[in-house]
């Protein structure tokens, strides 16, 4: 926990309740959290804070999750940051497109918070 305590997670989620849920749980696990509710803000915040991991909602207004993901990957500092995408059940094509643009993991809504936290931890350690 001591090392991960310094690590920063960027949450991109336009549903305020879900953003709040993620924030509470991530902080409880000792990570620092910044939340934004749009793709445009995600890119700005990414450059500004250089997070250690990104949790990215697929369905965002304007810039979609997939566009944000590929933009972050193009960014020279963003080639290796772990990106976890939140998607809807049964959207297999989405998953394939997500892998294409370089997402590391997919979490299906509604998700188990404990499972999501485990995946965050695993991706942070691998990195």
């Amino acid at each position: 926990m001591t090392e991960s305590a310094k690590q920063l997670v960027l949450v991109v989620e336009d549903e305020p309740a879900q953003a709040e849920l993620l924030r509470y749980n991530l902080e409880k696990n000792g990570w620092r959290v910044v939340c934004v509710d749009s793709g445009d803000d995600a890119l700005l915040m990414y450059r500004e804070t250089m997070p250690d991991l990104v949790i990215l909602d697929w369905m965002l207004p304007h810039l979609s999750g997939i566009e944000v993901c590929s933009e972050i990957r193009k960014n020279e500092n963003g080639a290796h940051v772990p990106i976890l995408m939140l998607t809807a059940r049964g959207q297999e094509e989405d998953r394939l497109r997500g892998i294409d643009v370089g997402a590391d993991d997919f979490i299906v809504k509604p998700y188990s918070v404990a499972d999501l936290m485990e995946r965050v931890a695993r991706n942070l350690i691998v990195n």
């Binding site: 336009d14 879900q18 849920l21 509470y24 749980n25 998700y111 404990a114």
Partner: protein
């Protein structure tokens, strides 16, 4: 081909094409000419239909296979989905030589309806999944990581209440819509005074909120605005329109409700709800009555919208044989005008 047979075929709205054993076009009816505008007699079928499945099916029938059907999308004047029936036929005048007769049933509207249903189901599940995800997550959090955290519990419960309200509202609106669609065929017949409907709405919207009630300026003369309609449904129409006018305009600005005989026709009454709000970009106007269409999703959700309000309005007005007109200018406000059949006053 006999003249009478030709005139029968020309009377059909279904495009019909007859090809000979070498797949040359030997006959097209009028509907077929209208669809395949570049076709001439004696052309090869492949000159006007590039679709390989359609050509193969025709070839097989000419080789002795039984009647068959293929579904294809053809790039005519507009791309159209057809179910093509390919049947063998013999032509007496040509010593009973085997031909194929193709008839093209336009199934675009069926495909479109399927697509719409598919999109609708996808939208509904998305709209339900969001609050559900929050609820499931908060329950898990309250049972685990937040156990004993009274402050968090208080806050989460408030959010859970809002999310479950949202699900309930969504389900109510969906049921409302589906009931309306089932009733659309039979127009209402009761006489309703719009003035009464609007006054009831203003009272229930304003409630004890004096400030809100002040914002709604109604200038409708009772007795002069009788329409043929269903009181509850019309209540829903004006509740939605007035609520929108309030929601999408600055606090304190006026919302004006007026009624008059429609221009150029005394058979309709026009009721207008005018606000001094954000206004609407013209690109959005044609789509506003689509289910779940919202210009600013975050804003609509923050004020508790499902995005079904105007879709419900539209269907109620179809039921009433009325209509809705939207006029708006960005930054200056909007006017939603409802046209309803006037009750005969005599």
């Amino acid at each position: 081909m006999k003249k009478s047979v030709k005139s029968i075929l020309n009377g059909l709205v279904v495009p019909i094409l007859i090809v000979d054993g070498k797949m040359r076009i030997s006959y097209m009816n009028a509907a077929s000419m209208a669809h395949f505008t570049n076709a001439k007699a004696d052309m090869l079928m492949s000159d006007i239909i590039e679709n390989q499945r359609c050509l193969t099916a025709t070839k097989r029938v000419l080789d002795g296979d039984p009647e068959t059907q293929v579904e294809v999308t053809l790039q005519g004047v507009v791309p159209t989905s057809f179910r093509v029936n390919v049947a063998p036929m013999t032509v007496e005048a040509e010593k009973d030589a085997l031909h194929a007769i193709l008839s093209f049933e336009d199934i675009s509207h069926i495909r479109e309806a399927e697509q719409m249903r598919h999109d609708f189901v996808a939208n509904v599940s998305h709209e339900l999944r969001s609050p559900l995800t929050a609820l499931v997550g908060f329950i898990e959090t309250l049972q685990g990581p937040a156990k004993g955290d009274a402050v968090a519990a208080e806050r989460f419960l408030g959010m859970m209440e809002r999310e479950s309200d949202r699900m309930a509202r969504l389900i109510d609106d969906l049921l409302s819509l589906s009931k309306l669609q089932a009733r659309e065929r039979d127009a209402p017949s009761a006489v309703v005074d719009i003035a009464d409907v609007i006054n009831d709405i203003v009272v229930s919207l304003g409630g004890s909120n004096e400030h809100l009630r002040e914002r709604i300026k109604v200038s409708i003369v009772k007795g002069e605005t009788k329409v043929i309609g269903d009181k509850n449904e019309l209540g829903q129409v004006f509740q939605n329109l007035i609520e929108n006018a309030i929601k999408y305009s600055p606090d304190g600005s006026d919302v004006v409700v007026t009624a008059c005989a429609a221009e150029k026709s005394d058979e309709h009454i026009c009721v207008c709800v005018t606000d001094q709000g954000d206004g609407i970009d013209p690109v959005h106007i044609p789509r506003l009555t689509e289910r779940f269409y919202r210009i600013d999703k975050g804003r609509s959700r923050a004020i508790g919208g499902t995005g079904l309000g105007l879709a419900i309005v539209k269907h109620i007005l179809i039921h009433h044989r009325g209509s809705l007109k939207i006029k708006s200018k960005l930054g200056e406000g909007s006017t939603f005008s409802v046209y309803l059949p006037a009750a005969q006053t005599a």
